[in-house]
């Protein structure tokens, strides 16, 4: 991953944070001084390097911990709201922004709504647990399932 791709990756993340949603290639092109074709080519290289995840159409699917589409993990932080890809990523949004957050999710078993307030990186409710089904070595085999 060369510096140009790192810069493009950082520009993509900045737009994701600023917009509160996944940016389009045109939006990243406008903010980075590149052409849309250059942005899309760089995105595919970043996708191959696991620096972000594209869908089949080449649009942003995940800029971990942020999710482009709705998920059962909604996170309020810094006056905005994002979707996270999973429980781990839900905590990652506040961690990446270095702010407190509130995670809105549900128990994966009984579907009871769960609201987790995270202050100073510490969840208020310590009774909850987190389960990882896929062994670490296989996380990227199917990142959507993981």
């Amino acid at each position: 991953m060369d510096q140009a791709d790192l810069d493009l990756r950082n520009a993509t993340y900045r737009r994701f944070v600023a917009l509160g949603r996944a940016p389009t290639a045109a939006e990243v092109a406008a903010s980075s001084g590149r052409s849309e074709a250059e942005v899309r080519a760089a995105w595919w290289r970043l996708h191959a390097a696991h620096a972000l995840v594209l869908d089949d159409a080449g649009e942003i699917r995940m800029a971990n911990p942020f999710s482009a589409g709705p998920t059962p993990f909604r996170v309020d932080a810094a006056g905005r709201s994002w979707f996270a890809n999973c429980g781990w990523d839900a905590f990652g949004i506040g961690a990446a922004l270095h702010v407190d957050s509130v995670i809105h999710t549900e128990c994966a078993d009984c579907r009871t709504p769960i609201e987790i307030t995270v202050r100073g990186g510490r969840p208020a409710d310590a009774s909850l647990v987190f389960h990882v089904l896929v062994p670490a070595a296989s996380w990227w085999n199917d990142i959507g399932f993981t």
Binding site: A51, N64, W88, G92, H98, S127, L128, H131, V132, S138
Partner: protein, 69 residues
């Protein structure tokens, strides 16, 4: 990677599935801080396998299940 109300709910959900690993939510918060804390830093660089493994090891997440391969 899912959140549950308790370990009993994990076990109900798993049913016949092979279990993975269950950790307390506060351990997950520590892991997220270590894993994602630099994600928006201007000098962010991709993490290699050894660096990722060191984060897991530091939090006591070790053994074959937590091996990044």
């Amino acid at each position: 990677m899912l959140v549950f109300r308790s370990e009993a709910h994990v076990n109900d959900w798993l049913a016949e599935r092979p279990a993975g690993a269950t950790i307390p939510i506060r351990k997950l918060a520590e892991l997220a801080a270590a894993w994602w804390g630099d994600r928006l830093a201007p000098d962010w660089r991709p993490r290699n396998r050894e660096q990722g493994q060191a984060i897991l090891d530091h939090l006591g997440l070790s053994g074959p299940f937590w091996s990044l391969g």
